[in-house]
């Protein structure tokens, strides 16, 4: 140990180079394996996240709390004018409440007449948001419920009001929710009241654009966007948001869910979807009966 160190350096340099080459090759191999067999590596990624991120949780809660406290403090400055605004809105709401109560009674009567049985299988599990995606290019959050709680890939996730995203990647204790704003998110929707079918395609912006509308002139800003249940991606009728037109004239969805404050999310247990066994016949899966085409003569019961 104590003898000439400059000699020693001559020995370590090739070794160092060797380690560099080995580590680089391992990294490159990881990337190539991911490219070839992505699901396996993604499962590995979910397991790594599952091991590491819950350990951060004890520290994340106070830090997030403190930051939010400061943000809230800033909004206290405008509290007086907010109060006025809220009073005005409350007055408006009261008239709406009356209307809603009447409609509720009417609805109950009609349901009774029809003896409709609401789907009992649509139950939910509530989870808490652990972490966000951490990357500006991906819109997703991590929930603290996972395979342990019976979660399955593809289930819909909502906050109290609207659809937030879908489960993609389930580990034992955590699961990842791909938000509607993520660039890889595509959700089939119906636009009410015109009944147009379309696709909400995320593009990393706060309001995802609506693609594939058959006749855009039937759609107006302010129309409601709900999930259509096409392709058995999601249960039908989940609220997504309202149509809005951006300055370029493109139709987008103003999301109903409050993406600024995602804290508790409910994961809807969907019905088990048809297992796909045959790659060629996916489009005509409901045997014999042709799949409904872009929503022209879809029966109202859909």
């Amino acid at each position: 140990m104590a003898n000439n160190r400059s000699n020693n350096q001559d020995y370590t340099r090739p070794l160092r180079r060797l380690i560099l080459v080995v580590v680089s090759l391992v990294l490159l191999a990881t990337f190539l394996v991911w490219r070839i067999d992505s699901p396996r590596v993604e499962r590995f990624r979910a397991q790594v996240t599952d091991r590491i991120v819950p350990n951060f949780d004890w520290a994340m809660a106070p830090v997030t709390g403190t930051v939010n406290l400061f943000r809230d403090y800033q909004s206290y400055n405008r509290i007086a004018e907010q109060n006025q605004e809220l009073r005005r809105e409350l007055r408006k709401m009261q008239s709406w409440k009356e209307a809603a109560l009447q409609l509720e009674q009417e609805n109950a009567r009609l349901l009774d007449l029809n003896s409709v049985r609401l789907d009992p299988r649509l139950t939910f599990i509530t989870g808490v948001v652990l972490a966000d995606s951490g990357s500006p290019f991906r819109q997703s959050v991590l929930l603290n419920v996972g395979a342990r709680d019976g979660l399955v890939d593809g289930w819909a996730t909502m906050d109290g009001i609207g659809l937030v995203g879908r489960i993609s990647g389930v580990a034992k204790n955590t699961s990842r929710v791909i938000l509607l704003t993520d660039a890889s998110s595509r959700i089939p929707v119906t636009i009410q009241p015109s009944g147009q079918r379309a696709i909400v395609a995320g593009d990393n912006s706060a309001a995802p654009p609506i693609d594939f509308i058959e006749s855009p002139d039937l759609v107006r800003p302010g129309d409601r966007v709900v999930s259509s249940g096409d392709g058995a991606v999601f249960p039908a009728g989940l609220v997504i948001g309202q149509v809005a037109a951006d300055p370029g004239g493109r139709l987008r969805v103003r999301l109903a869910a409050d993406y600024e404050r995602l804290k508790f999310l409910r994961v809807l247990r969907s019905h088990p979807t048809e297992p796909v066994t045959d790659t060629a016949n996916i489009l005509t899966a409901n045997d014999g009966k042709p799949a409904p085409e872009n929503g022209e003569e879809v029966p109202a019961s859909e």
Binding site: S24, F31, P136, S205
Partner: protein, 168 residues
């Protein structure tokens, strides 16, 4: 000190993962992990051995939803390049170091996108990636300041000894 790099890496990942808001923002956060890896590579290469660096970069790839391995591989090559220049950069001023880092970052970003394009991987959009590169470049002096003053990781000066009394 090697342990400190792990702590630092986990801390940067922690800040990235804080669930403050799920809104997509128009600006992109800087890649702090890579910035610190660069700053430490220039100052004290012995604190960031290759294996440790590879592991931390791969971990950040996995946690931050990037294609695992590629960004880590390119970052590792950059750090190695900086470490081999460390002796020369030690003698020069900060501007030279910054220029080197800018060149490496821009080169890496371009190479990263080219490789992803060749392998037909879905790419993050060009705008936010450019913004991320630029913010990382702009944050680099801050990172260096933190490294130098707060963490006390400084460039070696002639006559410095390592822990076992050898020249570095």
């Amino acid at each position: 000190m090697r342990g400190w790099f792990v702590v630092l890496g986990l801390a940067t990942l922690f800040t990235h993962l804080l669930p403050l808001s799920a809104m997509s923002r128009p600006w992109a956060t800087p890649d702090l992990m890579l910035g610190f890896a660069f700053a430490w590579s220039v100052r004290k290469p012995v604190y960031v051995p290759v294996i440790l660096l590879g592991l931390m970069l791969l971990l950040s790839d996995l946690l931050l939803q990037r294609p695992p391995g590629l960004w880590a591989f390119l970052g590792l090559l950059c750090c190695e390049n900086l470490q081999s220049r460390a002796k020369r950069l030690r003698a020069s001023n900060f501007a030279a170091e910054w220029a080197t880092v800018i060149a490496l970052l821009v080169g890496t970003t371009i190479l990263y996108r080219i490789i992803l394009a060749i392998l037909l991987v879905e790419q993050p959009n060009l705008g936010s990636q450019l913004i991320q590169t630029i913010t990382t470049i702009l944050y680099y002096p801050v990172i260096v300041f933190a490294t130098h003053v707060l963490m006390g990781v400084r460039k070696g000066v002639p006559g410095d000894m390592d822990a076992r009394g050898g020249r570095i």
